[in-house]
């Protein structure tokens, strides 16, 4: 039984240009920490140098997005190795294999649980990636 009430705290990326919810005034935060878990908002292909969107080839978009996820995790005291579950949403399901090729570079061993699918994405993004990780 839980004996104390868990607190919930918002986490922020060290690079403020990746704080899309703040820069675009959207009603969400980059991530929430609860106990030993970190729940991140969906991240898109934001250029970490400009804060603008990188709508290049899908492989490049996935690489940018996962680099941003890595930055967010590390800003909050976690890391890619501690990612538990990932949602990969693509604009086009035919990009699955290409996404996978880049994805492997970020999780070289013991990859997290994952679900990948495609649906219409906002802002013309080719991918959006959301994850749950451990912080400890």
């Amino acid at each position: 039984m839980m004996t104390e009430k868990l607190a919930r705290s918002a986490i922020q990326p060290k690079n403020a240009l990746l704080n899309v919810s703040r820069s675009a005034n959207l009603p969400h935060v980059p991530g929430i920490r609860v106990g030993d878990y970190l729940f991140l908002s969906g991240m898109g292909p934001i250029d970490p140098r400009t804060g603008g969107r990188n709508h290049g080839p899908i492989a490049e978009q996935v690489r940018t997005t996962l680099s941003n996820v890595k930055h967010l995790l590390e800003s909050a005291g976690s890391s890619l190795e501690r990612v538990v579950r990932v949602h990969v949403v693509l604009a086009d399901i035919s990009h699955l294999d290409e996404m996978d090729r880049v994805y492997r570079e970020f999780f070289p061993v013991n990859p997290p649980a994952r679900t990948a699918w495609s649906m219409q994405l906002r802002f013309g993004n080719g991918c959006e990636i959301e994850c749950v990780a451990l912080v400890d």
Binding site: Y37, P112, R114
Partner: protein, 129 residues
């Protein structure tokens, strides 16, 4: 601590059969996070193409095997994401779904999506370890 849960039967490892780069499930901090499951034969990994209803039944059978091998069960589900290829089939999903969560259904979201491997339905779940 984060622990990989391996597939109890070879067909349930979608990485092996479909190249999906993922672990079948991960146990972490009291919860089990499963990768999205599609209708595959649990022994051979072969796709069990069918109606949404028949695919959902295969998926629940597979999730039961996976969760039980990890010491959990369908009665311990916390949250489910069900993705269906045609949102008009929402009621069809519900009919099958009810049979498998009869002892108190978990939180759930259903949405229409394009799915890999020609799947009509994909179910992803989080359960208590």
């Amino acid at each position: 601590m984060r622990e990989i849960i391996t597939a109890p039967l070879p067909g349930l490892d979608l990485r092996r059969h479909y190249g999906h780069y993922q672990s079948p499930a991960i146990r972490a901090g009291g919860l089990i996070f499963c990768s999205g499951m599609i209708a595959v034969d649990p022994q051979t990994g072969e796709r069990r193409h069918g109606t949404l209803s028949s695919e959902a039944q295969v998926i629940f059978g597979n999730l039961k095997l996976l969760l039980e091998s990890a010491g959990s069960s369908l009665d311990r589900l916390v949250q489910v994401h069900a993705l269906i290829h045609d949102s008009a089939e929402y009621d069809v999903l519900n009919r099958v779904y009810r049979q498998y969560v009869a002892n108190g259904p978990p939180a759930r979201t259903v949405c229409g999506a394009c799915l890999p491997d020609g799947a009509r339905v994909l179910i992803e779940c989080t359960a208590l370890a």
